[in-house]
């Protein structure tokens, strides 16, 4: 098999002295959906940040499309085609919904109006609020704006940290639906999910992260089928 599109190998690092990541490895192929699950505080978000260059790695390397990007700044990674929705603080609160989406398209030079319409179509609830400041939205609406912003980037690798937290079931369905669609177009998806069963359902590859290290790695289906994994990590 050729080298995967994204490969983050043996990452080790953290915020202070203690390491949060202890040799965590993540890979995603072109058009694949990879899902990370694990207990709270396992280091999932930290791993995402590490992949995006928002955390200094002590060890390990991140490669994108065969190119070593370990030393690049987050902003340079954006230009390499990576998009990221953080778990918290993922909107611009005093800018309108529309401006939030425009900011998603900041590095695009083509006409992005169509993409905006697509996002509105996907999230009709926020479409009604396009002229409202994003900070005034409800929790779930914010989440939708955040995901919408990332979609605006038209990235080649889309990283989502718990995109469905606080989102109502109907929208969550839509969202997963859309993610599959996006993946179809050849975009790689790396996401963290606590709604793990739904997420693993659509995942090509699943990672169970515990204390900053890979505990289980398998296809989504296989992980779902593993009773041990289900009991300890997926809530029965």
């Amino acid at each position: 098999m050729a080298e995967p599109y994204l490969s983050a190998s043996a990452m080790r690092g953290g915020y202070g002295k203690a390491d949060i990541l202890n040799g965590c490895t993540l890979t995603v192929d072109q058009g694949q959906i990879a899902v990370i699950v694990g207990p709270n505080g396992a280091g999932k978000s930290t791993a995402m940040k590490a992949v995006f260059g928002m955390l200094n790695l002590r060890e390990g390397a991140v490669k994108l499309g065969g190119e070593d990007i370990t030393r690049l700044t987050p902003q340079e990674r954006v230009h390499k085609g990576m998009g990221f929705v953080p778990q918290t603080h993922n909107i611009f609160p005093t800018m309108t919904v529309e401006e939030n989406l425009e900011m998603g398209a900041f590095i695009r030079t083509d006409d992005y109006r169509e993409t905006i319409e697509q996002v509105y179509h996907l999230f009709p609830a926020v479409a009604d609020k396009r002229k409202q400041n994003a900070g005034e939205l409800s929790g779930g609406q914010r989440q939708q704006v955040a995901v919408g912003r990332a979609l605006m980037t038209k990235p080649r690798l889309l990283m989502l940290d718990e995109p469905t937290a606080g989102v109502s079931p109907i929208v969550m369905d839509e969202l997963f639906d859309r993610i599959i669609e996006v993946a179809r177009t050849g975009i790689s998806i790396l996401m963290v999910e606590q709604n793990a069963r739904q997420a693993l359902e659509i995942a090509d590859i699943g990672y169970v992260l515990v204390q900053g290290a890979n505990r289980y790695t398998d296809s989504g289906k296989a992980l779902m089928a593993d009773p041990e994994v289900r009991r300890t990590f997926l809530g029965g």
């Binding site: 396992a42 937290a165 989102v167 929208v171 997963f176 809530g235």
Partner: protein
């Protein structure tokens, strides 16, 4: 018992809560669900005194509590958590818990100079209690970490943990489950049931995880566009057409099924994979989980 009478809360011209009336019975675990932006959190904020209502009244055990300050409500036994975690970020996790109980001797300025002994004793007891809560929430290892450094889910747990530090009459939980590991959420659900049964706490829970709602709550109130759309037992709600259309949707299952029909990759395992909802229904307390 909390009674909400024809409550309105408007933001400019927008009616976030638009004439909601509902009752939370003492001793119940009431679920509050509804689409994003339905006005659930706003309703909570009005009840908890964070936002003044545009009109309407809130009655708690026969007493009108409309417009009381949050700290006054706290002392009446009304606690709440925040949807977006509001931790005290520069304090340690343990301190976050220890600061919660009201009426601490050490909170009087004079006492800090003249009643040191008593304070020391109280502190010891508080610390013990905090450690128990931490243990329960599986975050003992970060007890001395600044709360601001917690992971998203851990903050959510801390949010819940604070309500466990005091004896409350009624607790409002705003999406405690979002971002919390599902296994742990199960445990939390157990704890809520236990607090409800053993200590007689009343709960009002906002949550989008229907497994959780289905397992815990009776009754369930559905809000949409600032109004109460439906009310009833979890199972009846989940079969309610209006609720399905506005909130639940027809379920991921069907769509995935449609997808897999085309995709060979997915095709194989589909048969082995029962619907998510059915799973949850069995995993819970046996109530049918409806369409999901």
């Amino acid at each position: 018992m909390i009674q909400v009478h024809d409550l309105h809360r408007h933001f400019g011209g927008f009616r976030a809560v638009d004439g909601a009336s509902l009752t939370i019975e003492t001793g119940s675990i009431t679920g509050l669900i509804g689409p994003n932006g339905a006005g659930k959190s706003t309703l909570f904020n009005v009840i908890a005194g964070v936002l003044p209502p545009t009109s309407g009244r809130v009655i708690m055990d026969g007493e009108d509590i409309t417009g009381l300050q949050p700290h006054q409500l706290f002392h009446k036994g009304l606690l709440r958590t925040f949807q977006l975690a509001h931790e005290f970020s520069s304090m340690t996790v343990r301190e976050n818990l220890m600061m919660v109980p009201g009426a601490q001797t050490g909170e009087g300025l004079m006492n800090t100079w003249f009643r040191r002994g008593r304070i020391r004793e109280e502190e010891r007891a508080l610390r013990k209690k905090a450690d128990e809560v931490l243990e329960f929430l599986t975050i003992t290892h970060v007890a001395d970490e600044k709360a601001g450094n917690l992971s998203g889910g851990q903050k959510k747990l801390l949010e819940l943990g604070r309500t466990m530090m005091v004896d409350a009459k009624i607790v409002f939980l705003d999406e405690v489950g979002a971002g919390v590991n599902r296994t742990l959420l199960g445990t939390i659900g157990d704890a809520i049931v236990r607090l409800n049964k053993e200590r007689g706490y009343t709960f009002c829970v906002i949550e989008h995880d229907m497994d959780f709602i289905g397992r815990l709550c009776d009754p369930v109130i559905v809000m949409a566009q600032g109004k109460v759309l439906a009310q009833g037992s979890a199972s009846s709600i989940m079969q309610n057409e209006a609720v399905i259309e506005a909130y639940l949707g027809t379920g991921l299952k069907n769509k995935v099924a449609a997808e897999v029909a085309e995709e060979a990759n997915f095709g194989e395992s589909h048969g082995a994979q029962p619907g998510l909802g059915a799973e949850a229904g069995q995993g819970g307390d046996g109530k049918p989980a409806g369409d999901l």
